[in-house]
Amino acid sequence: MEEILEKFETALIAGNADASADLADAIVAAGQATADEIFAHLSNAMEEVGSRYQTGEYFIPEMLRSAEAVEKAMAVLEPYLFESRHEQAGVVVMGTVRGDIHNIGKNIIVSALRAAGYEVHDLGVNVSTEKFVNKVRETGAGLLLLSAFTTSTKPALLDVMAALEAEGLRGSVKVVSGGASHSEKFAREVGVDGFATDVKSTLAVCRRLTGRDGDRR
């Protein structure tokens, strides 16, 4: 089984969507892999893709190619993983804030979080404060991830934070802001519970905020 999972991981990193879906079929057919094992390989793949982007080996089209491979594989794996997925992680609401239409980073993060076992409600891009607040209330999400490509979106982030407070939801949801230009200082100014700049730091901050620090890697 481990050999199929290794091949699966390699196919995701290479962004080979057809091979990823075929290998996902093989994983389901064999029925031996645990959800933990599958998530570990998916997470490894996404982290490797993120790392290759950071070192300049991959660019955005290569990340999208891998994201598409993850998407095709998840379509096969989702029924197989469904029950354990909900038990393992938390419910996340995510979107790119108002005034920002960048969705590349967000989509990669959504795939990575799903792969890591979260139930993710993706609201898309240019999302209004009202939509974020309503979705958090409706789903009872424990995590709200606000994607913002540049720090010029600070007013939009502050608006969401104020609305969560005003609606009495701030105590029940941890908020993470994310984007390549985010920093601890920026996160402090906006008042979020954590920040992330890439796939790896997003998974880490989500694990920390959901009290799952001891989980795999």
Binding site: P61, L64, I104, N126
Partner: protein
């Protein structure tokens, strides 16, 4: 030598009396100078023309950039655009879902509805005293915008034929808009190819998709007017290709090492750049602006072929005194 002559001298490969200063003060920043909100001016070309004219008058740099809502195709081939508050106009819906939509693309009619009047007004206000630059999307940038960046870049591997066909289909838009600016009397064109950046796509993909159409469009427009090719963030790996497009100058952003760029392509094209619009002009103090200007001119000013500029659009929240400092120190350190 007045501002316009100084700017054009560099594009013609001649030696100016000092380094020309043409920061990218466009629709992000200029409306503030006349006390107007960005959304007023994005929706109203006359407002933006007034703002750009006032900003040039206030800071006395050598050229004004007609850009962001001002010009022949504010709606990007018919994509619905949303303007709200001080946000930049956002294309909120793309119009090419697949190959079947290529035929539906409507090329812009630059002269319809008085869209070129504000540009003409800006040119009249400049009256040959300073340069006016018209900003045009490259075919690659048009294609990415009407398809949506994610789908477009996913197509690189999924359907590269569609990428090429789409770029070819929108090339007439770049040409029509470029020619309208030329007819309106601008002094140079800036062909924007932001998505071709090596911060986004590999140099191989640049050469495969963005370069061929960019070169064709630039070479054709350059027969009539000097063209500056803008690619933001990191463009170092493709700089030599950019220099082969027929552009008279390359507008480069702060991640590029100016001295290395000058050494790589300085014999062939002029360089325009590359003060960091955010960390220096928006967030730095006057001392940071002075240091950056001095370093940039030191790295690329020698022997001409250099236009001092921000690497990209100056953000709304940049302090006015930093733009004034850019011009002041550009003059101080840029004399030949």
């Amino acid at each position: 030598m007045n501002s316009r002559e100084r700017f054009l001298a560099v594009l013609a490969g001649e030696m100016p009396d000092r380094v020309p200063i043409v920061p990218v003060v466009d629709g992000f920043f200029a409306p503030k100078v006349i006390g107007r909100a960005n959304d007023d001016c994005f929706a109203d070309g006359a407002c933006l023309a007034e703002a750009l004219t006032a900003a040039q008058l206030k800071f006395a740099y050598d050229g004004a950039v007609a850009e962001m809502g001002l010009g022949p195709d504010p709606n990007v081939l018919g994509c619905p655009v949303e303007i709200e508050g001080n946000d930049v106009p956002l294309v909120v819906e793309t119009i090419v879902g697949g190959r079947e939509d290529l035929e539906k693309l409507a090329m812009p009619d630059p002269w319809a509805g008085g869209k070129m009047e504000p540009v003409q007004r800006l040119v009249e206000a400049a009256a040959g005293g300073y340069a006016v630059l018209g900003s045009v999307r490259s075919p690659f940038e048009y294609a990415a915008t009407v398809r949506g960046l994610i789908e477009f870049m996913t197509d690189f591997y999924r359907d590269p034929g569609l990428v090429r066909d789409l770029i070819e289909a929108v090339r007439p838009a770049t040409m029509a808009v470029g020619r309208a600016f030329i007819k309106a009397g601008v002094d140079a064109l800036v062909v924007k190819d932001s998505f071709a950046s090596s911060s986004m796509i590999s140099p191989e993909h640049y050469r495969e998709f963005a370069f061929p159409s960019g070169r064709e469009a630039i070479a054709e427009l350059a027969e009539e007017i000097p063209v500056i090719l803008h690619i933001c963030r990191n463009s170092m790996p493709i700089l030599k290709d950019m220099a082969r497009t027929g552009a008279a100058a390359l507008e480069i952003d702060s991640p590029v090492d100016l001295a290395a760029a000058k050494s790589a392509v300085g014999g062939k094209v002029a360089l325009k750049g590359n003060i960091d619009a955010v960390s220096v002009i928006e967030k730095g103090g006057i001392a940071a602006v002075e240091a950056a200007v001095k370093a940039a001119i030191g790295a690329a000013g020698k022997g001409g072929g250099f236009i001092l500029s921000s690497g990209d659009s100056i953000p709304l929240s940049a302090p006015e005194e930093n733009i004034a400092a850019l011009v002041e120190y550009g003059r101080k350190y840029g004399s030949y």
